[in-house]
Symmetry: C2
Subunit: 448 residues, 2 copies
Amino acid sequence: MSKKQKKHIYKPRPISGFPEWLPQVRRIEQQWMDHIRETFERYGYCSIETPSVEELDVINAKGGDGGADVDKEVYVIERLHKDEDSKEARLALHFDQTVPLARYVAQHFNDLVFPFKRYQMQRVWRGERPQAGRFREFYQCDIDVINIDNLPLHFDAEMPAIIWETLSSLSGMEDENICLRISNRKILMGLLDDLEIENKVDVTRWIDKLDKLDANLIKKEIGDLGVSAAAIEKIMSLVSLKTRDPQAILDHVASISTSEAITEGAEELAFVMKNLAHLPEGAAVADLAIVRGLDYYTGTVYETVFTDDPAYGSICSGGRYDDLAGNYINKHLPGVGISIGFSRLFDRLRIANKLGAERISPADVLVVLPSEDKRGLTAVTAQRLRARGIKVEQYHNPQKIGKQMSYAEKKGIPYVWFPPFDDDGAHEVKNMASKEQAAADPDAWKMP
Amino acid sequence: MSKKQKKHIYKPRPISGFPEWLPQVRRIEQQWMDHIRETFERYGYCSIETPSVEELDVINAKGGDGGADVDKEVYVIERLHKDEDSKEARLALHFDQTVPLARYVAQHFNDLVFPFKRYQMQRVWRGERPQAGRFREFYQCDIDVINIDNLPLHFDAEMPAIIWETLSSLSGMEDENICLRISNRKILMGLLDDLEIENKVDVTRWIDKLDKLDANLIKKEIGDLGVSAAAIEKIMSLVSLKTRDPQAILDHVASISTSEAITEGAEELAFVMKNLAHLPEGAAVADLAIVRGLDYYTGTVYETVFTDDPAYGSICSGGRYDDLAGNYINKHLPGVGISIGFSRLFDRLRIANKLGAERISPADVLVVLPSEDKRGLTAVTAQRLRARGIKVEQYHNPQKIGKQMSYAEKKGIPYVWFPPFDDDGAHEVKNMASKEQAAADPDAWKMP
């Protein structure tokens, strides 16, 4: 049977939950990545990457009550033709960058300088049911700092400052209003302790829904958990505070409780807000109703919402954890970090047509090929421009000039360069937007 | 049982074949990535990324004799808690970027502008036995161009020019000599056809070993395949040619055969070499013994070796294929491409200590914190420097200045900035290498 006969067309289709972009969209995605990375580095955070997989035991050792929920979503990998008696450890794709960070810090502990300030921008995988804004493979951009024994509160304030600077200046975000909501878990948890409430996690789960559900419904649900009406009033009064004023936090909390843990939480939150005073109005707000689901947060917590559409959920979340890597190393390693849900944010703006994704080619200039015998001249011209950092496509075929120009137009290349068509001619360059064409020197021309 | 009691330390260990770097090495890796990407874009190639997975059927549809070999290495992924009756397609991590490119072009055919010039720099996975220079997870940097029906030979020459420019100027490669070896399969395959040799693939497999094994041994092995001594002499004579001179290629090949396919191959190779005449001596050589294993190459083929250590194998390979996406779409889509084995190359230089991986922090400047009451001043100083694009760490604790400076030293931060310690003092900056310290204005200072 010849190859020809065997040929079978397997028509490809998109894989649900695994996004893929056309070049013009990918171009903006890359600009976003560069921008985020550049901002993280401007604050002196170093990059790390970890393998896409962890040992399944490492992922399961993570502990905390979050473990069980999360492990439904894990993808394991396996060689298609594995040896049945293989002794290799089971591997799973990481579902976040926090477990890998904890494992990394434990494993390389002796080779790191603390406080260890790192950012990490990789794909993560979760086998959840795909839906709008939820992918199975997506990018996260994390920034964390870890120290030994003691981590200054300074960093709890640095995180939202970095995130604000990053997100507010992303291209396409000009007309979006976002708000960083900040709280400190010591406050609400402290009050629940004071009130001797048993199922604290259930109560906080309802508090967390305050911006989505009616307050009376939530009070009723908390009541159904066996919490007294007086206690509910106290809780609702506590979490009603939304302010950027550090003193208002201290006053409000003190009016409800002066117990030690609660006061400590209020002072920490006030410190953070004081250090964010330089941000514009509405950028960062202390909001005592913020809980964040993950059990390992022990102090400051963050989430970030679109001011006009908080129901879309948080696009950037994080907080402080007392002991990040305790499952992997016998050291006390407190940390604070925050994670941008990159793909989720990016896809929202893509769907809203706010990315301005128009250019396909990264080239600034297309050098035309007037005729086959000018191929050398076209090549040399392109190289002279490239030598000065200009991005140049060299056209490949001596087709009609109109066809070459339409190629530039379709790819969004803003300038078309004409090498001299005859020996005593001059180089010329055409601005595709203004249609102006003028003589130019390939060793001196600059993009206007 | 309290949490404390439950705690179990799971000591993490490296996963064989899945590399992970310390921050100072990752920093250079990132510089390499930026450099490669920058060069690809300087030639007008656009970026795409594809999901980490493909449907297993798409990977298997790839066809060609290479399929069976490769599929031993494929990793499949699976949700840990999948529904037993799930109708979802089986997914596998991609083992290269060529299959994903073919699928991408077929799937998005109507939305692409041709010739489609793209680069792709992603991780790929192969479940091979890990060994020196062979990873199970590694980066490849691919550049390809695909056209409809017909792809000018221009691009066969552009590929090695781009690769030379990229690789020769990577940091750490200054003292390395590399050589791009180029051939055209029409020449050798044409001769084998002329000679009516049956097991062509086996013969070429031996030819491919000419730079590793003794020529007499190879002749014997080819003889054992049933090839006559006269035919072997002709083959060995053909593949002995190594030259950069286009005319020498034409003359040499014509002296052995003037059949149509062979002559066409020689003319194509001569065209490519003529267009690479601007490269330095030794950078690119026509070498008729180059075969490349993959069956889908139909014309030009490339490989790249260390001139002093060709036995390390190829660090960058590729070639022309007649019909890339024929398994996925009923169009004729010829292409040419080349792929840098990034991790393989990077790890070689890392092990040889040639990367100069010393700086941990990306920061240019550390601003010290003289005392707690100066925290605001330190923060404002850092922001003034950052506003001008300088990368700045702000020290977090009012520790002894000596301790703060030693932190800068350990992280490789080249400048330490001292905000005024008292009201009428001046800002000063210290160069950590030269130990010079001088007054400086945070709104005007530039790194020397």
